[in-house]
Symmetry: C2
DNA sequence: TTTACTTTCAAACAAGCGTTTGATATGTTG
DNA sequence: CAACATATCAAACGCTTGTTTGAAAGTAAA
């Protein structure tokens, strides 16, 4: 039946995509090898090129910003004051970034991309990062108003995001500085709380 | 004369080290190739292995934390209140991180290391990053006192450093978000000013 | 000059990478 | 059943990587 071959073919595709997300988020684009992805997907080395064309294209297709977008629309429609929504954002965002149990590895792939750009960087910036920055820019504006100029507000967004991604991208270093560090749910929420406190204090001082 | 051969040999070594710092800081450890380093040093491909043993060892020897240490001792002996010293630190640190004209590329090699660890990570953490964190921990303590516990003070250090390294490590993204972005001296000092303002407001709110 | 040692060099090596190929198996269609 | 299209596979290709090699060049001491 047509559905059956299509189905087994799609199954291979799906397994490749899942394995790709796993390996890319763990090893980065360069560090990930096609062979390792295929090994985890129980597929032949040639499978990636057959189904996706190239490693670059596989990476591009493996990217998915749904969860990040959902986080934003959810946050924007939350019936809360901007301060609480910033708190909520940091909380959800840090869970996405740090929680190993989190099914979505998209954010981690993106965070890695920040440090070590791939051919897909333009797509990522346009589709995910730029909207995220705009979203945060509006949130900051709601808090500080136009007391701070556009440049200053953008730098506030950078300050916020810089704190967030630091915990992910510098994990190998932080792990060595404080060997007992583990990103369990309690720790993540404590970190998110600190970042929100720190940033809100800085933002509210501008009012 | 013994001095002459020693001298020409040392010259090759020196040229290799200089080229290595250039390429490593630009491309990272993985991205840098032995061939490119030797090309810039006007040396044979075998030179790296002859003089240093391996690419790893060359990287290790190319690291040099003098400027970072100097920044700290200079800062610690400055006759200023802790708030002003934090301001001074951020200013000097950001110049080290972002100023292309800055002769020392050490800091940029280190910042890259944060995101993409190499075999030399342990050395870097022990000799440079850990002391830097201790230094900043003391500075934060001078500002907030023991009102904030040790964990909280450490997170404040992370918040500060996270903001700083963000501008370096995320440059490819920021460049795409605001194409007119250039790290000239004026821009760097404006950024440093923002980070210091932002962080001091957050820290002083804890008092 | 001869001898011994150090430094440089072109060339090759071994391993890993993404990708391609041609055969084989599998399922569909006339 | 025969002819065809699709999917999988082992194997190999072409390339780049860090590293090694053995000869040549250069220098210092006898």
């Amino acid at each position: 039946m047509a559905e059956q071959i299509a189905s087994t073919c799609e199954q291979t595709r799906a397994r490749l995509l899942e394995a790709a997300r796993e390996v890319f988020s763990q090893c980065g684009f360069q560090g990930a090898t096609v062979r390792e992805i295929c090994r985890r997907a129980d597929a032949n080395v040639a499978a990636v090129n057959y189904h996706f064309g190239s490693k670059d294209d596989l990476f591009s297709e493996a990217l998915n910003f749904n969860q990040l977008k959902a986080l934003q629309t959810e946050n924007a429609t939350a019936d809360k004051c901007p301060e609480k929504r910033l708190r909520l954002f940091v909380h959800d965002f840090m869970l996405m970034l740090l929680d190993e149990k989190n099914a979505s590895r998209q954010c981690r792939m993106m965070a890695r991309e920040l440090a070590d750009p791939t051919p897909a960087l333009d797509k990522i910036v346009t589709e995910a990062i730029a909207p995220l920055h705009e979203f945060l820019g509006r949130l900051v504006f709601e808090i500080v108003g136009d007391r701070a100029g556009e440049t200053e507000r953008r730098r506030c967004v950078y300050s916020l995001l810089g704190q967030c991604v630091f915990y992910r991208n510098s994990y190998p270093v932080l792990q060595r500085l404080t060997p007992e560090l583990r990103y369990d749910r309690k720790e993540i929420e404590a970190i998110a709380g600190h970042i929100a406190d720190f940033s809100l204090a800085a933002l509210l001082a501008k009012k």
